[in-house]
């Protein structure tokens, strides 16, 4: 009874959310696994690249409905997977000396011998510089100034810091220092730390730059994208507006200031169709370019702001009867459909956003864009709907897409991961998972998506402050 309830619950959710249902079944069986808190395991958990299996997937395959004819239907697969997982729990697929079950429970990869739980023990006597086994305020002071201000404190500053009467005084001082440093150009100025966080999202190309620092073929000004990004990540502002903003931000230098404005001469999309950095002149120029169905724009936004890279089989929420292949690119081939059943419905809301074109039509929302400019591309191209699907949830247009994306766990996890990597130096490790999960949940809940509060939270973690 319990198992059938489990499978049906997964299948029902899979109808709306996921197909194939492996990630959902896995997480129904191991709901407390770090790979299931706010996310699901990617295909790479069991596959090198589907259908080729890694060592863990291969051991599962042998235990999966033995003797049943292949291929299994989704329902048969979902029914059989929990028993197969249980059958291999006590094995050690990657030979790293840790059972598959323990790796699942601790969030390490059962198919990767280099990934296994790390046991920490404090050894040795006192260290005159740091308390290496616990949060160390002196260490944090120096690190905080380097991370946020870009330079170490002086000897005199460290002495003054240590002279505060209590640790509470020192903690209060760190709060003010963090706030001071995040107002510096090192943090928020041109090419500062926040710009570095934004580079992989905006993906600038100097030769195409318009405006300040123009390139040889000036097409769009991506400094507007950086300005909006920094605006949303500073002060008491909602970081989700990087996806949902219907305004722009102007940057001035010496000292750097950012000002919210209703319009900019370098931006063309009308107020009713703006969706933050997904619809700027640069995003449309570079990610839409000349394409009818801008899959690249959708996959880049999914990767950059929601942390899900479809090329790595992450964030696959297959939509039934998709892909339709309206632009006749052959994406219904089995090798393509696994990803395009998610990607194409993600892309439909971009259908009316035009990229590179004559000045009159470039980088703007054009109703019936496909009918006006691409009608001869493929027989069914004009049937491409504007209605799409993200995370299994239907959306009418890109602004709804942005709203669902920005409100998702994926956005909170991706944003927290950005700053975790920036400040701690690596993505959250399995042994840091509990702190990481608590941090992104507070960012989403208590902190209401304010990055400034997230930063204060991050520097209080053991991962940041224990040398």
């Amino acid at each position: 009874m319990h198992r059938s309830l489990l499978v049906w619950s997964v299948l029902l959710s899979a109808a709306a959310l996921a197909k194939p249902p492996a990630g959902g079944v896995f997480c129904a069986k191991y709901p407390t696994s770090p790979d299931c808190v706010g996310r699901q395991p990617a295909c790479a958990y069991c596959h090198v690249a589907p259908p080729q299996r890694n060592v863990f997937g291969a051991s599962l395959e042998a235990a999966l409905a033995p003797g049943a004819p292949r291929p299994l239907s989704d329902a048969d697969f979902a029914m059989a997977l929990p028993a197969a997982l249980m059958a291999v729990e006590s094995r050690d697929a990657d030979g790293d000396g840790v059972t598959n079950l323990l790796e699942i429970q601790r969030g390490t990869q059962p198919a990767d011998a280099a990934s296994k739980p790390v046991e920490r023990a404090c050894e040795g006597s006192e260290n005159p510089q740091f308390s290496v086994c616990r949060y160390d305020l002196r260490y944090v002071y120096k690190k905080l100034l380097l991370d946020f201000c870009g330079a170490s404190p002086s000897y005199a500053q460290v002495k003054r810091f240590l002279e505060w009467p209590t640790d509470d005084d020192r903690r209060a001082f760190l709060v003010t220092e963090l706030d001071r440093c995040t107002r510096t150009d090192f943090w928020r100025g041109k090419n500062g730390q926040l710009w570095k966080v934004a580079h992989p999202k905006i993906r600038p190309v100097g030769s195409l730059k318009q405006g300040e620092d123009p390139g040889g073929i000036p097409l769009a000004d991506y400094y507007d994208d950086y300005a909006l990004f920094v605006w949303t990540q500073t002060e008491d502002r909602d970081a989700r507006e990087v996806l949902t903003a219907d305004y722009f931000v102007r940057r001035t230098a010496n000292p750097t200031t950012y000002t919210k404005v209703a319009n900019l001469p370098s931006q063309n999309v009308d107020l009713a169709h703006r969706a933050g950095n997904m619809t700027t002149a640069w995003a449309l120029t570079y990610f839409v370019m000349f394409t009818a169905l801008p899959r690249n724009a959708a996959s880049q936004a999914y990767r950059a702001y929601l942390g899900l890279d479809i090329a790595k089989q992450e964030g696959l929420y297959s939509v039934p009867n998709e892909p339709q292949d309206y632009d006749a690119k052959g994406v219904q081939a089995p090798a393509c459909a696994a990803c395009h059943a998610t990607l194409d419905p993600l892309s439909y809301p971009f259908r009316n956003y035009n990229g590179i074109s004559s000045a009159m039509f470039a980088n703007r929302y054009i109703p019936n864009r496909l009918e006006l400019g691409f009608s001869t591309l493929a027989p069914r191209i004009t049937q491409t709907p504007e209605r799409g699907v993200i995370f299994g949830q239907p959306v009418n247009d890109l602004r709804e897409w942005a709203r669902v994306g920005a409100d998702s766990d994926a956005f909170a996890i991706a944003t927290t991961t950005d700053y975790w990597k920036l400040l701690i130096g690596h993505p959250p490790r399995p042994e840091e998972n509990a702190e990481f999960v608590a941090t992104w949940r507070r960012f989403k809940g208590e902190h209401q998506y304010r990055v400034q509060r997230l930063l204060h939270d991050l520097v209080k973690t053991e991962a940041y402050g224990a040398p």
Binding site: S125, Y155, V158, P204, H426
Partner: protein, 217 residues
């Protein structure tokens, strides 16, 4: 203190220094801490050292030696070492041209060479400036010299300078064995260098600035 008394004392200090417009600060208190036993030090469970990268290295070297960041190191006298020429080798990004949007996250085979380049450039610049105008010296000051040699390598002034340099670059006091080592270096250089005092200042500065403790955090 009344303002006129402060002004008088300041004037006296300026007169004694022989350097118009600059007041010589009192000597650095000679604080040297016991050398820890490396074998018994607590071992970090996380081992999460981070490389400072181009901007932080340049800023810290500049602050330690009281240079402008742009004066720390240039190639051909005009191209910034840290933020332009060797930026990527130091873990920086180069997004607008080659599309290097994220740092590699690891130090490259050339990274130590570039760190040495930066540290040596900054140290020689500071030493040159301070020896050229001793009255205006910012870092390498207060050490008696004659004919290009330290008058007394084992003197208190030399120890004071080691303390000051360590505090500037590593924000801590030196260990006793560090002071011993740098004093010994001074004596060694007397036998091998044409300008032993200058060579010693450059070498101690370089050793401290290019140390793992200086470039990681």
């Amino acid at each position: 203190m009344r303002p006129e008394r402060l002004l008088a004392l300041s004037s006296l200090a300026v007169a004694l220094s022989g350097c118009p417009g600059r007041i010589i600060e009192p000597p650095v208190p000679p604080i040297v801490v016991d050398t820890p036993d490396a074998g018994s030090l607590a071992r970090s469970a996380r081992g999460n050292l981070r490389f400072k990268g181009p901007e932080r290295l340049q800023a810290d070297f500049a602050a330690a030696l009281e240079l402008q960041p742009s004066d720390v190191c240039t190639e051909l006298g005009q191209y910034q070492c840290a933020t332009f020429v060797h930026n990527v080798a130091l873990g920086g990004v180069d997004p607008y041209g080659p599309g290097l949007y994220e740092s590699s996250g690891i130090t490259a085979v050339t990274t130590p060479l570039v760190i040495d380049r930066l540290a040596w450039s900054a140290c020689t610049k500071r030493v040159d400036l301070d020896l050229l105008a001793p009255g205006l010296a910012q870092v390498f000051r207060g050490v008696p010299m004659s004919n290009g040699k330290l008058t007394n390598p084992e003197g208190q002034e030399v120890s004071n300078l080691i303390v000051d340099l360590t505090r500037r670059a590593l924000t801590r006091d030196p260990y006793a064995n560090e002071v011993t080592r740098y004093v010994k270096l001074a004596k060694d250089l007397e036998a091998t260098s044409a300008q032993p005092a200058r060579a010693w200042m450059q070498s101690v500065c370089f050793a401290i600035l290019s140390s793992a403790e200086s470039v990681f955090y």
